[in-house]
């Protein structure tokens, strides 16, 4: 018991150090020098065949990708989000990059790469063991090493890279891949379906409670490489899993495209908790560079009494386009969305959620906290839809925005569509700035302005931070502080 607590404390310290290290000028913006072998820039059916061949995928997977690609060609890029961005040249991107030597175990992993993780504080090896966290670290496009495979395997949990899953568990992948986010779901999901490089695959069999929190650190490396992760998590009847996703990316001056797809499937009485801390390179204070983060995340409460909960802390990326959603299909299923989105300098975020109530007695809760500083724009965009058969569906939505500075924008676009007279749907939103009274009070108690702001912001976000696993909660708080540096005064 004691050692467990000590370990937890050690992790907290580690994470705090990590956040510390993310200091003022984004010190995580180092570039690891490893030789990359990748595909040349450009995208056509041949690229997809090559990509699929490199990954030694079966024929059906190649066809699946091609189908998605053909669909993608017919789709216009979405323009409805409140985002300003230049058209993206998809032919100028390279769709595959991988560390040159394919590692078979962690010992074979390029030391430079491990060093990267070291700097980021990814708890691999013993650190992972101490933390009780199994890590499937994705360095660019190929999974490097997966720890804790054995412990998980004993519990019957499958946790591996998507490439591996396609080879090892094709029947499971075929059954669930694209069943929540179909190939042609939207422009970026279609692109991802065509060219996805790798990602995580999690399968929790019936009745199993995953013995540890699963975690993946994604990291974008190699210049000009769009990274297209594909994550699939399936929880069978009565299963439970908590999954942590965290990201940082090295400093770049050219915008990098990131279009991930995450699919969650919860069968009867299953629960999936998915937490994200996203801290990709947001661009510098003049809005140069930064990641374009166009993500499709969707959970499907397929079985009765299932529950899917999304928690996200979004501080990074130049542009965020992301709406983690839950389809409440099963009766009495529950969907939750807790979000903190912070934008600074020239960052733009258009993020929110969708709760689609289909089953009876379904419940959803949305808590969104937006913080805008500098010249950034931060939008909440959400949909709560109650279908005809969703008797007694219940939704509660709360969206609060905090403005720091005169040149930023905070926006709220909630959509409510209700077709069942037994449903109750509620939405509340407020927008304000940090009040002078609050600041004055803090300062009169000898707290500096920046500290006061970060304290107030922390209080503003508390409702969401509470939902984060402990390891993330500390990091998240630190991240906000770091991200807000220079926002006041």
């Amino acid at each position: 018991m004691t050692s467990e607590r000590d370990n937890a404390a050690a992790v907290l310290r580690d994470n705090a150090e990590v956040a510390e290290a993310l200091g003022r000028s984004y010190s995580a913006g180092f570039i690891t020098e490893i030789e990359s072998t990748g595909l040349p820039p450009g995208l056509d059916e041949e690229t997809i065949r090559q990509l699929s061949a490199i990954k030694r995928e079966p024929e059906w997977m190649t066809e699946w990708r091609l189908e998605a690609y053909r669909h993608w060609l017919t789709m216009p890029p979405p323009d409805w989000a409140k985002l300003k961005l230049d058209p993206i040249d998809y032919q100028a991107l390279s769709y595959y990059s991988a560390p040159k030597q394919a590692p078979k175990s962690l010992d074979e992993v390029d030391p430079a790469l491990l060093e990267t993780y070291e700097k980021l504080g990814v708890p691999l090896h013993e650190r992972a063991a101490l933390a009780g966290v199994a890590v499937d670290a994705v360095f660019d496009s190929v999974s490097v090493g997966t720890t804790f495979r054995k412990q998980l395997a004993d519990a019957g949990v499958l946790f591996c890279s998507m490439s591996e899953a396609i080879r090892e568990y094709p029947e499971l992948v075929r059954k669930y891949l694209g069943s929540v986010v179909p190939q042609g779901d939207n422009f970026f999901a279609a692109l991802n379906s065509a060219v996805f490089s790798d990602g995580s695959f999690v399968f929790i069999p019936k009745g199993v409670r995953c013995p540890m929190e699963l975690s993946t650190y994604f990291r974008i490396n190699a210049q000009n490489t769009g990274q297209f992760e594909r994550t699939l998590i399936v929880a069978e009847e009565g299963a439970y899993v908590s999954y942590l996703e965290g990201c940082t990316a090295p400093r770049r001056d050219e915008n990098q495209l990131h279009a991930a797809v995450v699919e969650l499937v919860a069968l009867e009485k299953a629960q999936i908790k998915y937490s994200t801390v996203q801290n990709w390179y947001p661009g510098d204070e003049n809005g140069i560079g930064g990641i374009y983060n166009f993500v499709t995340k969707r959970g499907d409460c397929r079985g009765d009494d299932s529950k899917i909960s999304w928690t996200q802390v979004e501080t990074g990326s130049a542009i965020t386009w992301k709406y983690p959603s839950v389809v409440l299909r099963g009766d009495r299923s529950v969907g939750e969305f807790h979000s903190v989105a912070l934008t600074h300098h020239f960052q733009q975020a258009d993020t929110g959620t969708k709760m689609i109530h289909i089953g009876k007695d379904t419940k959803s809760k949305i808590v969104s906290k937006g913080i805008s500083a500098g010249r950034s724009n931060n939008s909440y965009r959400g949909l709560v839809k109650v279908e005809k058969g969703a008797e007694r569906a219940r939704n509660y939505t709360q969206c609060d925005s905090l403005l720091i500075g005169k040149k930023c924008g905070a926006h709220t676009f909630p959509y409510m569509e209700v077709k069942n007279p037994g449903a109750i749907v509620e939405h509340e939103a407020t927008t304000s700035k940090i009040s002078d009274d609050q600041l004055f009070y803090c300062r009169s108690r000898g707290i500096g302005e920046e500290d006061a702001v970060s304290m107030i912001v922390d209080g503003f976000c508390k409702q969401v931070f509470r939902e984060l696993p402990m390891e993330f909660a500390v990091e998240a708080k630190k991240l906000l502080e770091v991200s807000l540096e220079g926002a006041v005064g």
Partner: protein, 433 residues
């Protein structure tokens, strides 16, 4: 357009534009018509029309203007409002009817005349309003109106004039041969410090399968005050697309009460620009679609100056197979410090086949701001129902009572008691028994 002609657009374009003999006006009409022809009707992919599909309307053909409007039978008694006998302008199928109007003894400082007359006398003061080109993607009906509206209202209140009696505007839809489209244009201007109460009504009689469009511009100079009551009780078959664009100068105040009751397909755009420091806007409204009605209200408020305030309370009750759509968008522009913006939209969904779509929006670009909105969709409070029943009030009656109370919140602060009572009555008839 290379696509096969949409009947609605084709039949509209077949009609000649009303001749005005005024160069700039003819040009504006031509250009707006060209824009309409070019873009046609918006589909639901256009955000402003997301919840209002015009597919069925697009398949219908309309005859532009009613040549017999001047002689159509109208029940004048039905137009009367209790306790109100001030100046009145009445239009039947978009055409001014002097015989039903009352323009005698206008109070000092009030100019009230049909648009056709004002244009004939001196068109220049109307040039700014009527030269407008509508460029938004969803502006199809405003373009059509700008091209085709030959008549309407010109209302001016001189600076400092306080008009005691409410001015009434009535737009009556009467059955005509075939499907008729009429268009009316209203221009209202309140000078500095002017005060006015305006009661605007859409009334329908008989089976009037028609389309009406109305575009109104209301400009309030500094310190002007307007109380605007809007009662839309169009004929059950009617399609009505109306738009009110308000502009408020410094310290100007508008208090607006809207009842959206009638029509088969009704779209109301209510746009307000708080352009002067200290301007204030209060809107209260209720929409009660039932049967197969579709009522779409789009409220857009823009805070542009210092210390502006807006408060909006809207209620919706949908029954039968009806659909109620509400959008309440508030924008606080950069530099509009001191803005206080509040919006609430509560809805009752009474039937398994009805639908409510609501979208409150906030777009905030200034930081010295208090902005909040709330929206709910639900049903009557079971406990309140139980309470009433425990006091011996039958279930059905208790429901009616509670529903009426839910709606009446929007009329509570209407100062004119007789009018409030009348509107209460109109509302009561509409509510599900």
């Amino acid at each position: 357009m290379s696509e096969p002609a949409v009947p609605f657009v084709a039949s509209t374009l077949a009609a000649p534009l009303p001749p005005s003999g005024i160069g700039w006006l003819d040009e504006a009409r031509r250009e707006n018509l060209a824009a309409f022809a070019d873009a046609g009707l918006p589909d639901t992919r256009v955000e402003a029309w997301k919840y209002t599909a015009l597919r069925a309307l697009a398949q219908r053909r309309f005859v532009q203007g009613d040549a017999q409007a001047a002689t159509r039978e109208v029940d004048a008694a039905a137009l009367a409002l209790p306790g109100l006998d001030g100046p009145r302008l009445v239009f039947v199928n978009g055409v001014f009817r002097g015989d039903l109007s009352d323009l005698a003894n206008l109070p000092a400082g009030l100019t009230l005349q049909p648009l056709s007359q004002a244009l004939a006398q001196d068109a220049e003061p109307l040039r700014f309003a009527l030269s407008r080109r509508y460029r938004e993607r969803g502006d199809a009906f405003a373009r059509l109106n700008a091209a085709q509206a030959a008549d309407g209202v010109v209302l001016r209140v001189a600076a400092g004039a306080k008009i005691a009696t409410p001015v009434q505007l009535a737009f009556v839809g009467v059955a005509a041969e075939g499907e008729l489209a009429w268009h009316a244009r209203t221009v209202v201007e309140l000078g500095e410090g002017a005060e006015l109460a305006l009661v605007e009504r859409h009334v329908g009689s008989g089976v009037a399968r028609q389309l009406g469009t109305l575009v109104a511009d209301l400009v309030l100079r500094d310190d002007a005050r307007l109380s605007h009551v809007l009662v839309q009780d169009a004929a059950p078959e009617a399609v009505l697309v109306h738009r009110h664009a308000l502009q408020l100068g410094a310290r100007a105040h508008v208090s607006l009460h809207a009842l959206e009751l009638g029509g088969s397909l009704v779209r109301h755009d209510l746009q307000a620009e708080l352009a002067g420091d200290g301007a204030r806007l209060d809107t209260r409204g209720v929409f009660v679609p039932r049967g197969r009605q579709h009522i779409d209200t789009q409220l857009a408020i823009r805070h542009q100056a210092l210390d502006t305030a807006s408060s909006s309370t809207w209620r919706g009750v949908a029954d039968g197979r009806a659909r109620g759509v509400f959008r309440g968008a508030i924008v606080v522009a950069p530099g509009a410090d001191g803005a206080d913006a509040r919006l609430s939209n509560k809805n009752l969904l009474l039937s398994p086949n009805a639908e409510i779509d609501t979208k409150p929006e906030l777009e905030i670009y200034a930081d010295e701001v208090q902005a909040a909105h709330g929206a709910t969709v639900g049903q009557l409070d079971e406990r309140a129902l139980f309470y009433l029943r425990s006091r011996g009030i039958p279930q059905a009656e208790a429901r009616t009572l509670l529903t009426a109370a839910f709606c009446r919140a929007v009329l509570d602060d209407l100062p004119d008691a007789a009018l409030r009572e009348h509107l209460d009555g109109l509302l009561a008839v509409r509510l599900p028994a």
